[in-house]
Symmetry: C2
Subunit: 188 residues, 2 copies
Protein backbone atom coordinates (compact mmCIF):
# COMPACT_ATOMS: atom_id res chain seq x y z
CA UNK A 1 0.00 0.00 0.00
CA UNK A 2 1.49 3.32 -1.04
CA UNK A 3 1.72 6.43 1.10
CA UNK A 4 -1.04 8.09 -0.88
CA UNK A 5 -4.42 6.64 0.06
CA UNK A 6 -7.33 7.86 -2.05
CA UNK A 7 -10.11 9.32 0.14
CA UNK A 8 -8.39 8.21 3.37
CA UNK A 9 -10.42 10.71 5.42
CA UNK A 10 -13.73 9.52 3.98
CA UNK A 11 -12.78 5.86 4.50
CA UNK A 12 -11.78 6.57 8.13
CA UNK A 13 -15.03 8.42 8.73
CA UNK A 14 -17.14 5.58 7.33
CA UNK A 15 -15.16 2.95 9.26
CA UNK A 16 -15.50 4.96 12.50
CA UNK A 17 -19.26 5.37 12.11
CA UNK A 18 -19.64 1.63 11.42
CA UNK A 19 -17.68 0.72 14.55
CA UNK A 20 -19.35 3.35 16.78
CA UNK A 21 -22.71 1.99 15.64
CA UNK A 22 -21.77 -1.69 16.02
CA UNK A 23 -19.97 -1.63 19.37
CA UNK A 24 -20.44 1.88 20.77
CA UNK A 25 -18.17 4.92 20.83
CA UNK A 26 -16.44 4.02 24.12
CA UNK A 27 -15.44 0.55 23.01
CA UNK A 28 -13.85 1.61 19.71
CA UNK A 29 -10.17 2.53 19.37
CA UNK A 30 -8.41 4.63 16.74
CA UNK A 31 -6.38 1.56 15.75
CA UNK A 32 -9.54 -0.46 15.10
CA UNK A 33 -10.96 2.35 12.95
CA UNK A 34 -7.77 2.47 10.91
CA UNK A 35 -7.74 -1.33 10.45
CA UNK A 36 -11.40 -1.36 9.35
CA UNK A 37 -10.55 1.33 6.80
CA UNK A 38 -7.53 -0.66 5.57
CA UNK A 39 -5.19 2.07 6.81
CA UNK A 40 -2.63 2.50 9.58
CA UNK A 41 -3.20 4.13 12.98
CA UNK A 42 -0.59 6.71 11.91
CA UNK A 43 -2.79 7.67 8.99
CA UNK A 44 -5.76 7.99 11.33
CA UNK A 45 -3.86 10.49 13.48
CA UNK A 46 -2.78 12.41 10.39
CA UNK A 47 -6.49 13.14 9.78
CA UNK A 48 -8.00 13.25 13.27
CA UNK A 49 -6.62 14.32 16.66
CA UNK A 50 -8.70 11.61 18.37
CA UNK A 51 -11.74 9.40 17.83
CA UNK A 52 -14.09 12.15 19.02
CA UNK A 53 -12.93 14.45 16.25
CA UNK A 54 -14.51 12.15 13.65
CA UNK A 55 -17.82 13.35 15.11
CA UNK A 56 -16.92 16.97 15.89
CA UNK A 57 -14.14 17.80 13.42
CA UNK A 58 -16.57 19.87 11.37
CA UNK A 59 -17.56 22.15 14.28
CA UNK A 60 -14.99 24.88 13.57
CA UNK A 61 -15.85 25.04 9.87
CA UNK A 62 -19.57 25.11 10.69
CA UNK A 63 -19.04 28.00 13.10
CA UNK A 64 -17.11 29.94 10.43
CA UNK A 65 -19.85 29.16 7.89
CA UNK A 66 -22.53 30.56 10.23
CA UNK A 67 -20.49 33.73 10.86
CA UNK A 68 -19.55 34.36 7.20
CA UNK A 69 -23.04 33.61 5.88
CA UNK A 70 -24.71 35.93 8.39
CA UNK A 71 -22.16 38.69 7.64
CA UNK A 72 -23.02 38.43 3.92
CA UNK A 73 -26.79 38.92 4.35
CA UNK A 74 -27.74 42.47 3.20
CA UNK A 75 -27.51 44.96 6.07
CA UNK A 76 -31.13 46.06 5.64
CA UNK A 77 -32.44 42.57 6.48
CA UNK A 78 -34.23 42.30 9.86
CA UNK A 79 -32.40 40.19 12.50
CA UNK A 80 -34.74 37.16 12.45
CA UNK A 81 -34.82 37.16 8.64
CA UNK A 82 -31.03 37.33 8.52
CA UNK A 83 -30.87 34.35 10.90
CA UNK A 84 -33.46 32.45 8.84
CA UNK A 85 -31.56 33.03 5.60
CA UNK A 86 -28.33 31.93 7.28
CA UNK A 87 -29.91 28.72 8.57
CA UNK A 88 -31.25 27.83 5.12
CA UNK A 89 -27.89 28.45 3.42
CA UNK A 90 -26.02 26.43 6.07
CA UNK A 91 -28.62 23.66 5.79
CA UNK A 92 -28.10 23.45 2.02
CA UNK A 93 -24.48 22.47 2.74
CA UNK A 94 -25.70 19.23 4.36
CA UNK A 95 -26.95 17.87 1.03
CA UNK A 96 -25.64 14.33 0.57
CA UNK A 97 -24.77 14.02 4.29
CA UNK A 98 -28.01 12.46 5.53
CA UNK A 99 -26.64 8.93 6.08
CA UNK A 100 -23.65 10.25 8.02
CA UNK A 101 -25.75 12.75 10.04
CA UNK A 102 -28.25 10.02 10.92
CA UNK A 103 -25.58 7.60 12.16
CA UNK A 104 -23.75 10.40 13.99
CA UNK A 105 -26.93 11.46 15.78
CA UNK A 106 -27.53 7.89 16.99
CA UNK A 107 -23.95 7.58 18.28
CA UNK A 108 -24.20 10.91 20.11
CA UNK A 109 -27.61 10.15 21.61
CA UNK A 110 -26.20 6.93 23.11
CA UNK A 111 -23.36 8.65 25.02
CA UNK A 112 -23.73 11.28 27.78
CA UNK A 113 -20.29 12.83 27.19
CA UNK A 114 -20.98 13.22 23.47
CA UNK A 115 -24.41 14.71 24.17
CA UNK A 116 -22.71 17.35 26.37
CA UNK A 117 -20.15 18.04 23.65
CA UNK A 118 -22.99 18.54 21.17
CA UNK A 119 -24.67 21.04 23.53
CA UNK A 120 -21.39 22.95 23.83
CA UNK A 121 -21.13 23.00 20.02
CA UNK A 122 -24.68 24.38 19.66
CA UNK A 123 -24.01 27.02 22.34
CA UNK A 124 -20.87 28.10 20.43
CA UNK A 125 -22.89 28.41 17.22
CA UNK A 126 -25.44 30.55 19.06
CA UNK A 127 -22.71 32.80 20.52
CA UNK A 128 -21.17 33.13 17.04
CA UNK A 129 -24.49 34.23 15.53
CA UNK A 130 -25.21 36.68 18.39
CA UNK A 131 -21.77 38.17 17.85
CA UNK A 132 -22.33 38.48 14.08
CA UNK A 133 -25.71 40.15 14.74
CA UNK A 134 -24.19 42.67 17.16
CA UNK A 135 -21.60 43.51 14.49
CA UNK A 136 -24.57 44.26 12.19
CA UNK A 137 -25.74 46.80 14.79
CA UNK A 138 -28.44 44.62 16.41
CA UNK A 139 -28.85 45.55 20.10
CA UNK A 140 -29.30 43.26 23.11
CA UNK A 141 -31.42 41.36 24.00
CA UNK A 142 -32.50 41.13 20.32
CA UNK A 143 -29.14 39.76 19.12
CA UNK A 144 -28.93 36.96 21.71
CA UNK A 145 -32.62 36.10 21.34
CA UNK A 146 -32.52 35.88 17.54
CA UNK A 147 -29.37 33.72 17.75
CA UNK A 148 -30.80 31.42 20.45
CA UNK A 149 -34.14 31.10 18.62
CA UNK A 150 -32.27 30.38 15.40
CA UNK A 151 -30.22 27.61 17.01
CA UNK A 152 -33.41 26.21 18.56
CA UNK A 153 -34.92 26.02 15.07
CA UNK A 154 -31.75 24.45 13.65
CA UNK A 155 -31.55 21.86 16.46
CA UNK A 156 -35.18 20.79 16.14
CA UNK A 157 -35.00 20.72 12.32
CA UNK A 158 -31.73 18.74 12.40
CA UNK A 159 -33.13 16.13 14.78
CA UNK A 160 -36.24 15.72 12.64
CA UNK A 161 -34.14 15.46 9.49
CA UNK A 162 -31.86 12.76 10.93
CA UNK A 163 -34.94 10.84 12.14
CA UNK A 164 -36.47 11.04 8.64
CA UNK A 165 -35.86 8.90 5.54
CA UNK A 166 -33.74 11.69 4.08
CA UNK A 167 -35.95 12.28 1.04
CA UNK A 168 -36.75 15.83 2.23
CA UNK A 169 -33.76 18.13 2.58
CA UNK A 170 -32.56 19.68 5.83
CA UNK A 171 -33.41 23.07 4.29
CA UNK A 172 -37.06 21.99 4.02
CA UNK A 173 -37.11 20.99 7.71
CA UNK A 174 -35.48 24.33 8.64
CA UNK A 175 -38.09 26.30 6.65
CA UNK A 176 -40.88 24.29 8.26
CA UNK A 177 -39.53 24.90 11.79
CA UNK A 178 -39.03 28.63 11.11
CA UNK A 179 -42.62 28.94 9.86
CA UNK A 180 -43.92 26.99 12.85
CA UNK A 181 -42.04 29.24 15.29
CA UNK A 182 -43.38 32.35 13.53
CA UNK A 183 -46.95 31.03 13.59
CA UNK A 184 -46.67 30.12 17.29
CA UNK A 185 -45.19 33.41 18.46
CA UNK A 186 -47.54 35.42 16.21
CA UNK A 187 -50.53 33.66 17.74
CA UNK A 188 -49.73 34.94 21.22
CA UNK B 1 -21.76 23.71 69.15
CA UNK B 2 -24.89 21.55 69.25
CA UNK B 3 -25.98 19.10 66.59
CA UNK B 4 -28.74 21.44 65.46
CA UNK B 5 -27.33 24.32 63.48
CA UNK B 6 -29.80 27.04 62.57
CA UNK B 7 -29.87 27.62 58.78
CA UNK B 8 -26.87 25.33 58.21
CA UNK B 9 -27.75 24.95 54.52
CA UNK B 10 -27.97 28.71 53.96
CA UNK B 11 -24.71 29.30 55.81
CA UNK B 12 -22.95 26.61 53.73
CA UNK B 13 -24.32 28.10 50.54
CA UNK B 14 -23.13 31.61 51.43
CA UNK B 15 -19.70 30.33 52.54
CA UNK B 16 -19.33 28.30 49.33
CA UNK B 17 -20.22 31.27 47.10
CA UNK B 18 -17.74 33.48 48.98
CA UNK B 19 -14.93 30.94 48.52
CA UNK B 20 -15.79 30.14 44.87
CA UNK B 21 -15.70 33.88 44.17
CA UNK B 22 -12.49 34.56 46.14
CA UNK B 23 -10.34 31.64 45.01
CA UNK B 24 -12.29 29.89 42.24
CA UNK B 25 -14.43 26.76 42.23
CA UNK B 26 -11.56 24.33 41.52
CA UNK B 27 -9.42 25.54 44.41
CA UNK B 28 -12.14 25.27 47.07
CA UNK B 29 -12.76 22.12 49.13
CA UNK B 30 -15.87 21.00 51.00
CA UNK B 31 -13.88 21.16 54.25
CA UNK B 32 -12.97 24.81 53.65
CA UNK B 33 -16.61 25.66 52.94
CA UNK B 34 -17.68 24.00 56.19
CA UNK B 35 -14.98 25.81 58.18
CA UNK B 36 -15.93 29.20 56.69
CA UNK B 37 -19.55 28.50 57.69
CA UNK B 38 -18.47 27.50 61.21
CA UNK B 39 -19.66 23.93 60.63
CA UNK B 40 -18.08 20.52 60.16
CA UNK B 41 -17.32 18.75 56.87
CA UNK B 42 -19.76 16.07 58.02
CA UNK B 43 -22.52 18.68 58.16
CA UNK B 44 -21.58 19.83 54.66
CA UNK B 45 -22.08 16.32 53.32
CA UNK B 46 -25.39 16.02 55.14
CA UNK B 47 -26.66 18.88 52.96
CA UNK B 48 -24.74 18.49 49.70
CA UNK B 49 -23.37 15.44 47.84
CA UNK B 50 -20.36 17.50 46.64
CA UNK B 51 -19.24 21.09 46.15
CA UNK B 52 -20.87 21.23 42.70
CA UNK B 53 -24.28 20.54 44.22
CA UNK B 54 -24.20 23.92 45.97
CA UNK B 55 -24.52 25.38 42.46
CA UNK B 56 -26.82 22.76 40.90
CA UNK B 57 -28.75 21.31 43.84
CA UNK B 58 -31.87 23.23 42.79
CA UNK B 59 -31.95 21.75 39.27
CA UNK B 60 -34.31 18.87 40.09
CA UNK B 61 -36.77 21.12 41.92
CA UNK B 62 -36.65 23.65 39.07
CA UNK B 63 -37.41 20.92 36.54
CA UNK B 64 -40.40 19.75 38.59
CA UNK B 65 -41.58 23.36 38.93
CA UNK B 66 -41.47 23.85 35.15
CA UNK B 67 -43.41 20.59 34.57
CA UNK B 68 -46.05 21.21 37.26
CA UNK B 69 -46.58 24.85 36.31
CA UNK B 70 -47.00 24.05 32.63
CA UNK B 71 -49.39 21.21 33.44
CA UNK B 72 -51.55 23.63 35.46
CA UNK B 73 -51.99 26.19 32.65
CA UNK B 74 -55.57 25.94 31.24
CA UNK B 75 -55.75 23.40 28.40
CA UNK B 76 -57.19 25.96 25.97
CA UNK B 77 -54.02 28.13 26.17
CA UNK B 78 -51.90 28.15 22.98
CA UNK B 79 -48.45 26.46 23.31
CA UNK B 80 -46.31 29.61 23.27
CA UNK B 81 -48.65 31.37 25.72
CA UNK B 82 -48.54 28.37 28.04
CA UNK B 83 -44.73 28.46 27.91
CA UNK B 84 -44.72 32.23 28.52
CA UNK B 85 -47.00 31.92 31.53
CA UNK B 86 -44.83 29.12 32.91
CA UNK B 87 -41.65 31.17 32.53
CA UNK B 88 -43.18 34.13 34.36
CA UNK B 89 -44.42 31.99 37.25
CA UNK B 90 -41.07 30.21 37.56
CA UNK B 91 -39.27 33.58 37.38
CA UNK B 92 -41.37 34.92 40.27
CA UNK B 93 -39.85 32.18 42.45
CA UNK B 94 -36.42 33.81 42.08
CA UNK B 95 -37.50 36.85 44.09
CA UNK B 96 -34.87 37.56 46.75
CA UNK B 97 -32.29 35.37 45.00
CA UNK B 98 -30.57 38.02 42.90
CA UNK B 99 -27.35 38.23 44.95
CA UNK B 100 -26.95 34.44 44.92
CA UNK B 101 -27.84 34.13 41.21
CA UNK B 102 -25.37 36.88 40.30
CA UNK B 103 -22.50 35.26 42.21
CA UNK B 104 -23.42 31.81 40.89
CA UNK B 105 -23.42 33.06 37.28
CA UNK B 106 -19.93 34.54 37.72
CA UNK B 107 -18.60 31.28 39.20
CA UNK B 108 -20.11 29.22 36.38
CA UNK B 109 -18.89 31.58 33.64
CA UNK B 110 -15.32 31.19 34.95
CA UNK B 111 -15.27 27.37 34.68
CA UNK B 112 -15.67 25.31 31.48
CA UNK B 113 -16.95 22.20 33.28
CA UNK B 114 -19.59 24.23 35.12
CA UNK B 115 -20.64 25.97 31.90
CA UNK B 116 -21.21 22.52 30.35
CA UNK B 117 -23.20 21.42 33.37
CA UNK B 118 -25.37 24.53 33.04
CA UNK B 119 -26.02 23.72 29.36
CA UNK B 120 -27.06 20.19 30.33
CA UNK B 121 -29.42 21.66 32.95
CA UNK B 122 -31.02 24.00 30.41
CA UNK B 123 -31.38 21.14 27.89
CA UNK B 124 -33.14 19.07 30.58
CA UNK B 125 -35.53 21.95 31.30
CA UNK B 126 -36.30 22.21 27.58
CA UNK B 127 -36.93 18.45 27.30
CA UNK B 128 -39.19 18.64 30.37
CA UNK B 129 -41.28 21.44 28.84
CA UNK B 130 -41.50 19.69 25.44
CA UNK B 131 -42.72 16.59 27.23
CA UNK B 132 -45.32 18.57 29.21
CA UNK B 133 -46.51 20.21 25.98
CA UNK B 134 -46.89 16.86 24.20
CA UNK B 135 -48.95 15.65 27.16
CA UNK B 136 -51.19 18.68 26.51
CA UNK B 137 -51.69 17.36 22.97
CA UNK B 138 -49.24 19.70 21.22
CA UNK B 139 -47.74 17.98 18.15
CA UNK B 140 -44.14 17.99 16.92
CA UNK B 141 -42.27 20.08 15.90
CA UNK B 142 -44.43 22.66 17.74
CA UNK B 143 -43.81 21.13 21.19
CA UNK B 144 -40.00 21.03 20.87
CA UNK B 145 -39.86 24.46 19.23
CA UNK B 146 -42.01 26.16 21.87
CA UNK B 147 -39.93 24.52 24.61
CA UNK B 148 -36.57 25.43 23.01
CA UNK B 149 -37.73 29.00 22.29
CA UNK B 150 -38.98 29.28 25.87
CA UNK B 151 -35.65 28.15 27.30
CA UNK B 152 -33.85 30.56 24.96
CA UNK B 153 -35.98 33.38 26.40
CA UNK B 154 -35.34 32.20 29.97
CA UNK B 155 -31.58 31.91 29.40
CA UNK B 156 -31.23 35.37 27.86
CA UNK B 157 -33.51 36.95 30.51
CA UNK B 158 -31.63 35.20 33.33
CA UNK B 159 -28.23 36.35 32.09
CA UNK B 160 -29.47 39.94 31.75
CA UNK B 161 -31.04 39.79 35.22
CA UNK B 162 -27.84 38.53 36.86
CA UNK B 163 -25.84 41.23 35.04
CA UNK B 164 -28.28 43.91 36.30
CA UNK B 165 -28.45 45.72 39.63
CA UNK B 166 -31.34 43.51 40.69
CA UNK B 167 -33.86 46.35 41.04
CA UNK B 168 -35.98 44.92 38.19
CA UNK B 169 -37.33 41.42 38.79
CA UNK B 170 -36.45 38.36 36.71
CA UNK B 171 -40.14 38.26 35.69
CA UNK B 172 -39.76 41.70 34.10
CA UNK B 173 -36.72 40.53 32.11
CA UNK B 174 -38.63 37.41 31.02
CA UNK B 175 -41.61 39.49 29.84
CA UNK B 176 -39.30 41.84 27.96
CA UNK B 177 -37.50 38.96 26.22
CA UNK B 178 -40.81 37.26 25.32
CA UNK B 179 -42.12 40.50 23.79
CA UNK B 180 -38.86 41.03 21.92
CA UNK B 181 -38.97 37.50 20.46
CA UNK B 182 -42.60 38.02 19.40
CA UNK B 183 -41.81 41.36 17.77
CA UNK B 184 -38.82 39.90 15.92
CA UNK B 185 -40.57 36.80 14.59
CA UNK B 186 -43.71 38.79 13.71
CA UNK B 187 -41.63 41.22 11.67
CA UNK B 188 -40.45 38.50 9.31
Amino acid sequence: MGRWQPDARGRLERAAMELYTERGFERTTADEIAKRAGLTERTFFRHYADKREVLFGGAGALQALFADTLADVPASTAPMDAVGTTLEIVAAGFRGRHAFARQRQAVITANAELRERELVKLASLSATMADALRRRGVKEPAASLAAEAGIAVFKVAFERWTASTGRRSLSAFVREALDELKAMTAGT
